[in-house]
Symmetry: none
DNA sequence: TTATAAATGGGATAACATAGGATAGAGTGG
DNA sequence: CCACTCTATCCTATGTTATCCCATTTATAA
């Protein structure tokens, strides 16, 4: 499970270290022979990136496999999920090199922040991250009931927030 | 799993490099002795091409075996994918040469874009690709609920809205 | 402090995409 | 039946980019 917030440097070659904790998650749910790296895609919700391990992609694939092959929405999801995703392999030091267009999309410059979201994570500009965090906090304080921490029920979760 | 979007040049001889990532997928799920190349057919849905490895053809065959022999979808499926499909072998540099009629069908000229869709991929004109992607993105944003991205529960996710 | 792991920097190297000539095979016309 | 053309495949070459490898720094823990 991806947890916590880490800021690392993006070097001149476009490389950035993936936090060691995150790497541990990837390699633990990685059956031998699986891709050793992360999958990253531009968020549908705004100018930042989202990512996860290959296992997450398989979950998405399972969901899609259950859709009607001739459903119009199916191809739309296939394009957005698989077509936008990039496979970024770890180098020997646990770094990935971030494609330039993704960096531009997310406004990433010298520093990037990884934010764990459980099944997946976000990659964004540290400044934007701070802003988003404050907004999210404010929202929860206004509306504390939606997330019922500590109780089983939580029928309408929404926890995944994102 | 085929991921991401790559644009490569179609040269004067009708050759185009298949993205290295895609080739890796093919050779990884390729039992030794299998066909080293891609299978390409005109899409059922419009003027572009679809393709995959030989392994995908096997999957389709299994699917078809379980369909009603008189199902209309089945017949269309068989005719396009098996009937119209072409076997394009890699050359030493990982290129295939795209038959002229397929290029015409898909309106391919100097540049072609490969779009990963998980089990298969699309091959189309970069301009058309851009259009389709914008449409897909817009559609998913309007209707993110059909596919429960990011988690099991999330019946009315999107909570984090923003 | 010392030891261990993680993150960072940069030069060397290999992989990739692309171009073009050379060769072999299919099809056509004489 | 042979010569010719056209086309497809093979092979080598080259610029560009990514990745490999090693060295150094920073952080964490004993």
């Amino acid at each position: 499970m991806f947890l916590s917030r880490v800021t690392n440097a993006l070097d001149a070659k476009g490389r950035v270290s993936v936090p060691a904790d995150f790497r541990a998650v990837i390699s633990s749910d990685r059956a031998s022979g699986n891709f050793d790296g992360i999958i990253v895609w531009p968020s549908l919700s705004g100018p930042w990136l989202e990512g996860g391990g290959i296992a997450l992609m398989r979950e998405y694939q399972d969901l899609l496999d259950n859709m009607d092959p001739f459903d119009d929405d199916r191809i739309v999801f296939e394009r957005t999920i698989f077509g936008e995703g990039r496979r970024l392999a770890f180098d020997a030091n646990g770094r990935v090199s971030l494609p330039k267009d993704l960096a531009v999309y997310a406004g990433l410059d010298k520093q990037v922040t990884f934010v764990g979201l459980g099944r997946r994570f976000e990659i964004l500009n540290p400044k934007d991250c701070e802003t988003k965090f404050q907004q999210a906090r404010a929202k929860v304080q206004q509306n504390p009931h939606r997330l019922r921490l500590g109780g089983k029920p939580a029928s309408q979760d929404s926890a995944g927030s994102r």
